[in-house]
Amino acid sequence: MSHPNVGASAGPFRDQITSEKVRMFCQSLGMPERNTLPPTYLTVFRKGEFELFQKLGIPLSQILHTDQTYEFLVPIQIGDEVEFKTEVTQVLEKAKMQFLSFETEFKVENRAVAKAISTIVVRGL
């Protein structure tokens, strides 16, 4: 039987990618400015994950990121309005730790453009 939190979801949310936000993101990584989206820019859209941590009563200070995958289907452009929705896809418990996986689907104008899969561990349950 799967964990009761599997299937919990947040969103959809909408957010527009502006050149100013991309510039800030590049700067924060010490990267040269560019007119394309840096690969890890999708981390900006973790609102669903943060909402789910709150909903499931998981304190942020107890989580550590263990894995992150991004699949880029169609290039996302500056100026695009991105719609994204996050779902808990897996919960595993071992040795007083809980591993949670989230899947986030990104769409632009109703077309799937990218997918993110994050796994985090909740320490010291």
Partner: protein, 134 residues
């Protein structure tokens, strides 16, 4: 430049991780988890002190991958997927260095495996980027 399995992508060092940089990263990414910003909270949470956002180091890893594309003049490729696994924490004062190796080559794609290490040579992040021809 000929893409071959085993081709080494030279390690590049990034600037020392500072609290100021992590604060800028928190603003840019929207990740305000206090373990990245507040020494006291981090220690109370059982950590050795403030640690860098995992995705901050992953961002440096992806930057090394893109730099390889640029320096090798492989502009006909774009990144199809990017995977990272966090192996160890990066603390304030650490200096990440990222290098890699070409793992797989086909007619239309290649995979670059990357490793981020700290100044002690410890592995902190593993990455894998798949590129495909446009």
């Amino acid at each position: 430049m000929k893409l071959e399995v085993g081709l080494v992508v030279a390690p590049v060092s990034f600037p020392e991780v500072t609290q100021a940089q992590l604060r800028i990263y928190a603003d840019a990414s929207g990740d305000y988890n206090p373990i990245h910003l507040d020494e006291e909270v981090a220690k109370k949470a059982g950590l050795p002190g403030v640690i860098a956002h995992g995705m901050f180091v992953a961002g440096l890893v992806s930057e090394r991958a893109l730099k390889f594309l640029k320096e090798s003049e492989l502009s006909e490729y774009r990144m199809e997927s990017f995977y990272t696994r966090f192996k160890a924490m990066t603390r304030l004062g650490d200096v990440p260095t990222v290098g890699g190796t070409i793992k797989e080559v086909t007619d239309r794609s290649f995979v670059l495996d990357l490793q981020a290490r700290n100044q002690r040579g410890e592995l902190v992040v593993l990455g894998s980027a798949r590129f495909a021809k446009l």
